[in-house]
């Protein structure tokens, strides 16, 4: 159904290029601050919690649970489900749910990351684990 959907290629920038380079290897990266210990998403160079610049890249498990979702019933490219996934590592990330029955999504459901190709770096999505 949505297999043929074409996603926009990330523009990328110096602050986030490492995320997209890792995505090409199938790795889902988050940033962690070594000063306060907090992980965050999307990645910044300055920690949004303590303002330390000691943030480092960390490969996330890619596993999490659905915090919320909404199924957009109509769009020019067909129905799609947007939502937030709370990662095992803590941060919640905005995403789309793919490769599943979109009507059966549930808050609290376990999901895992899956990458979909674009004309540039692949984009992270989530699907039931």
């Amino acid at each position: 159904m949505s297999e043929a959907k074409k996603y926009p290629a990330p523009v990328t920038n110096p602050e986030t290029a490492a995320f997209w380079d890792a995505a090409k290897d199938g790795k889902f990266m988050i940033k962690r601050c070594t000063a306060c210990g907090e992980a965050h998403y999307f990645p910044r160079s300055i920690c949004p919690f303590c303002y330390s610049d000691k943030t480092v890249w960390e490969e996330a498990s890619g596993e999490g649970t659905i915090y919320t979702w909404s199924l957009m019933r109509k769009s020019p490219t067909g129905p799609y489900a947007i939502g937030y996934v709370t990662l095992k590592e803590g941060p919640s990330v905005q995403t789309n749910f793919v490769d599943c029955d979109l009507e059966k999504l549930k808050i609290g459901q376990k999901v895992k990351v899956v990458f979909k190709p674009t004309d540039g770096a692949p984009l992270p999505f989530f699907t039931p684990a």
Binding site: W20, F42, S70, M72
Partner: protein, 385 residues
């Protein structure tokens, strides 16, 4: 320092159009500016402060020029852009400028034509690569809030539907309203699902149009002929996912802007006789009522049910013009019309069928951006003198 009592709303104008393919956006701004200036009994050459947001073609300086404002006199401008609540923020900023002596007669305008043609996209933020592909729209961003609110608090679609039902009861008396038919809870539940769990009738209309305000000093307001409406409290706030930590979509930035405004005004939600609450979606109203303190968090569903928001029926008459759900939503931005209907209520100029008796304290509250992603909120508390 406080802005309490330092500024009055002396002029209001809501454009009657809901579809304006035959007009330019700048022209609509000029028509609402003219309307508000004339409502106040002033001349455009009296204006010495101008406020506009992202809907004003080209921003403040092209608008000041196009509107023919008196540039020898104009000494304060503000183009703060916070989506639909921009104009409620402008109202507070105008009061601050007036209190500081930076201007004495401020004009605030909103106008545009989303029903005639698509609006230009907003400039991308730092999140663009990590969010834009996922297709967040107003519908699904507010759908995500409603979904989680239902999960956490047991809020139901029936309860949300009561908000639309109340708006429709008011809209039947507004000759300019796009949707004048009174609807039932069943009508809302039977309307097509747009983005779960929001039905079509949980969504506001798309309309062309606009509105404008004149904000001035107490002295000038008292020299004019209109009933006196005073700003006594104001708050503004912003909220976003903030790195994804402790995400909670069941509350909005209104949880901060509301208390700031009430504290400045020195009153509580119980004192409010009429509430203009931005109603981009039914869930927007329910969450704002909780965040502003009209009921406890999670009890919004019970609060809005059974006609509690219907003028003459319930305890908290809201959006007596029919609001965005039924009357209009000019430029996809509901903040301006929220202030205008609150002023009508305080002046005693609302439709007799929905006019709140002895309406001396009103609130106008709105949000801008996407409640489910990142947004602003602003609260204004107004008193009839």
């Amino acid at each position: 320092m406080t802005i309490k009592g330092k500024a009055y709303i002396a002029g209001i104008y809501e454009h009657p159009t809901r579809h304006a393919p035959d007009k330019s956006t700048a022209q609509l701004h000029a028509e609402v500016a003219k309307g508000a200036i004339e409502d106040a009994g002033l001349s455009k050459d009296d204006v010495d402060g101008y406020f506009c947001a992202g809907d004003a073609p080209g921003g403040a300086w092209p608008m000041v020029d196009y509107l023919g404002l008196n540039t020898k006199k104009l000494r304060h401008v503000d183009s703060t852009e916070t989506g639909g609540c921009s104009y409620i923020i402008h109202l507070g900023h105008a009061a601050e400028a007036i209190a500081a002596g930076k201007c004495s007669i401020a004009l605030i305008t909103l106008a545009g034509k989303p029903r005639t043609g698509a609006m230009p996209p907003r400039a991308a933020g730092a999140e663009v690569d990590f969010e834009s592909a996922y297709g967040a729209t107003t519908h699904n961003a507010y759908g995500m809030c409603a979904m989680r609110h239902m999960h956490d608090y047991g809020t139901t679609s029936e309860q949300l539907a009561w908000i639309k039902v109340a708006a429709s009861h008011h809209a039947q008396y507004n000759p300019h309203a796009m949707l004048k038919d009174v609807v039932t809870v069943e009508d809302v539940l039977n309307s097509p699902m747009i983005s779960d769990p929001l039905h079509r009738m949980d969504c506001c209309v798309v309309s062309d149009g606009g509105g404008a305000l004149i904000v001035t000093t107490p002295e000038i307001a008292k020299s004019l002929k209109k009933p006196l409406v005073k700003l006594i409290g104001h708050g503004e706030a912003m909220k976003g996912p903030r790195g994804g930590k402790d995400l909670d979509l069941t509350y909005s930035a209104g949880i901060w802007s509301g208390p700031r405004a009430f504290e400045e005004a020195g009153i509580t939600p119980k004192d409010i006789k009429y509430a203009s609450i931005y109603d981009s979606f039914t869930i927007t109203v329910l969450m704002q009522l909780e965040d502003l303190g009209f009921c406890k968090k999670g009890e919004g569903g019970k609060f809005v049910a059974d006609g509690n928001l219907i003028s003459g029926v319930g305890k908290l008459p809201f959006n007596t013009d029919g609001g965005g759900l039924c009357s209009n939503h000019p430029v996809n931005r509901g903040g301006m019309t929220k202030i205008i209907e609150a002023v009508r209520q305080l002046r005693g100029e609302a439709h007799p069928k929905v006019q709140v008796r002895n309406c001396d304290l009103a609130i106008a509250h709105g949000t801008g951006g996407l409640l489910g992603v990142r947004h602003a909120a602003s609260t204004a508390i107004l008193e009839r003198v």
